[in-house]
Symmetry: C2
Subunit: 410 residues, 2 copies
């Protein structure tokens, strides 16, 4: 597997565009992704009980497992907008379908931005027209720009990986995402779109997405808030011409694992983990990426709860913002997670520096600790020493700037 | 019931002192509470798995259900300090007992401050001597000052209430507490001490405490972090001379409720809710007290989860700090709480102003909303309209100042 250029338009047969249609004052606010051929389509969505209208609409359209385009607006979440919101999201899909000459059932919809405002549909209609005309196989970057809200940079990645079998085909994956605030486990105000030219069965694609999400977007947090609009959509159009990837193959009447599934899965893991880390790195007001590794937990859920509790603790996050070597806050956060672990067995490291041994201060020098904590990326490793489960979780520090951004953002 | 002066030294037979012994640079850092007669003693402690040494020691001492003194230091939490920490906490009790001429089993211990530093025992020994000499029946205020950390004000209350029965006795309750950061449900870096001259059985006292805590300290949050040192201790010395309060009385061989239990319980509720609200009002960097009322929930735990999720949401808290009328964040927070509620039935009010009706914006004017949100006390009422359970929870806003305080506090 190697990184390549092009973002979501790197895989064969995908075009994209990003335009300004006036939902936001100046910045691009409407993106379009188009596949020249119908693609296998799968998605994952927020577990928030309050779900945005476009999510309800896309969920319905995904039932047939196929799509050819995705239309996305930023600046307005189309959430808590009642029946009108649903109608508006459907209309977005209809307008896009008409422009592209495809069925409206093949168009997925996503929105991000302020909650509770009606969607300015005439502007969006204009934007869809514009975007339809500027679709291009180099449009990945523009699309990535048009989906941003409080993000400070676009978030893209594309990779190519070799698939085993006749002709040794190469498949490509491209991904883009947005998200900076309201990021929390179980997806976030996070929109993520992945394209691939791999030929893959819907079941295999869904399983790969599920597994990759568990290692990436469900393992990050900017502020512990879970959004109403979180959406991950993947289109696989099969133009790489590889033998269809399944989870299982039949070989002499026995079921064996498809080795290409693992290859594809690893590539998808890489893409989603890369994008997830870009989100926390660009967390609102964040100055540091925090990687929390928890090892030696009795059960996987203990590891996850503890990692999440540490990464979400406002006291840990502010301490890291100030490079304050206050490991007691890490101990306190892990003790407060709902687990049955014994804190007297715990070791904690900041990068490679031991700060806690068996639940007590390891005597690390304050100045040395401060130097470690001044870095842009900090790894907190917690060895619980009471089991075999482990996990990795990413978060960021909490600064005055986060508060400033969110005090005024309406 | 009426409020009276005096704090924890208002009830008969209690003396207190607060002195400076050098754990902190300048401020008083050691407090002593003493009852002239052995008192019924009950406590509640943090549910954090990481428990401070003084908590482990006090838990042991509370087994006999009786105590005559409490010694408290601020500036050092005596947490994550291993066996030495336990020895130090025991030594604090022993020194206090020797000074007061009582048994060391009758002395409870509490600490608050930085985690992971050894307790400066010689300073504390000196402080205990000083405090022992300055004990006075007017010492409530001084003691209240000596337990503070990042608090900006002392937190005290005392009340008097009439008890039914022969002689119509009056009983008094006095309380003091500290806590400003690391405040979260299930107690917090919260120390609370209540004295009363009521004569009450240990069982009745424990039940009254349990009930009052559920309505007060378990219903507040400053930052979602749960401390390792949370302690609530109550001493009841019986000097009011009332007939012993029990939960139940035997009347003609039948068990009937003791009406005085309700009277005492109400007074304790009042004292603890008052102190709990003082804590959030003084939350680190807070400028507003937020009262979240959730009505119409299917089950009590739904109401509590939703109220807590709203009060803990950093996005809600920053919006309130900026008087930003962003009710979408309240909807998002309630949807993210782990419940099965239907968001399409929800009404939300900021004070008396409807902002959400049946899950959609109620069309409140932004300027009007901003005026409401500029107040020092804001009530957010959520009517779920899908059951009969309700709850009240208190929180505060999140400001740049919170971040500033916690970036540097070691």
């Amino acid at each position: 597997m190697r990184e390549i250029e092009g973002g979501i338009t790197a895989p064969r047969g995908f075009e994209a565009a990003g335009v300004h249609c006036g939902i936001k004052k100046r910045d691009p606010d409407l993106a379009l992704i188009y596949s020249s051929h119908p693609a296998v389509a799968c998605g994952m969505f927020t577990s928030n009980k309050v779900k945005a209208a476009p999510i309800r609409v896309s969920l319905r359209k995904l039932r047939n497992g196929q799509a050819q385009a995705i239309v996305i607006n930023s600046g307005n979440a189309n959430t808590c907008t009642g029946r009108q919101g649903i109608k508006d999201a459907e209309e977005m899909a209809r307008l896009t379908a008409r422009h592209l000459g495809i069925s409206e059932n093949e168009v997925l919809v996503a929105s991000t931005g302020v909650i509770g405002k009606p969607l300015p549909l005439s502007k969006i209609a204009e934007g869809i027209g514009k975007a339809g005309q500027s679709l291009s196989a180099q449009g990945g970057g523009e699309a990535a720009r048009a989906i941003l809200t409080t993000d400070t940079t676009t978030k893209e990645i594309s990779v190519e990986t070799g698939i085993a079998g006749r002709g040794k085909k190469k498949v490509k994956l491209g991904g883009m995402c947005k998200g900076a605030g309201m990021i929390s486990p179980n997806l976030a105000t996070m929109l993520c779109f992945v394209t691939t030219d791999a030929c893959i069965s819907p079941d295999a694609l869904q399983e790969a997405i599920h597994s990759a999400t568990g290692k990436s977007f469900n393992q990050i947090s900017v502020d512990g808030d879970m959004s109403t609009n979180d959406t991950l959509l993947v289109l696989a159009n099969g133009l790489a011409g590889n033998k269809r990837i399944k989870t299982w193959h039949k070989k002499k009447k026995r079921k064996v694992k498809d080795e290409n599934f693992d290859i594809f899965s690893q590539a998808l893991d890489f893409v989603l983990i890369h994008l997830a880390k870009l989100i926390v790195t660009d967390g609102e007001g964040a100055t540091k990426l925090i990687e929390v590794k928890v090892n030696g937990a009795p059960f996987p859920q203990d590891a996850r709860r503890i990692a999440r509790a540490i990464a979400n603790s406002t006291l840990v996050k502010t301490a890291l913002a100030g490079a304050s070597p206050n490991w007691g806050r890490v101990m306190s956060a892990l003790g407060a997670a709902h687990t049955k672990i014994n804190p007297d067995k715990v070791d904690i490291y900041f990068d490679n520096l031991a700060v806690v041994r068996r639940g007590e201060g390891a005597g690390a020098k304050e100045e040395t600790l401060r130097e470690v904590l001044k870095k842009k990326e900090i790894m907190i490793t917690v060895d619980l020493n009471q089991g075999l489960s482990s996990t990795t979780f990413w978060g960021c520090d909490l600064t005055e700037k986060y508060v400033r951004i969110n005090k005024s953002y309406l």
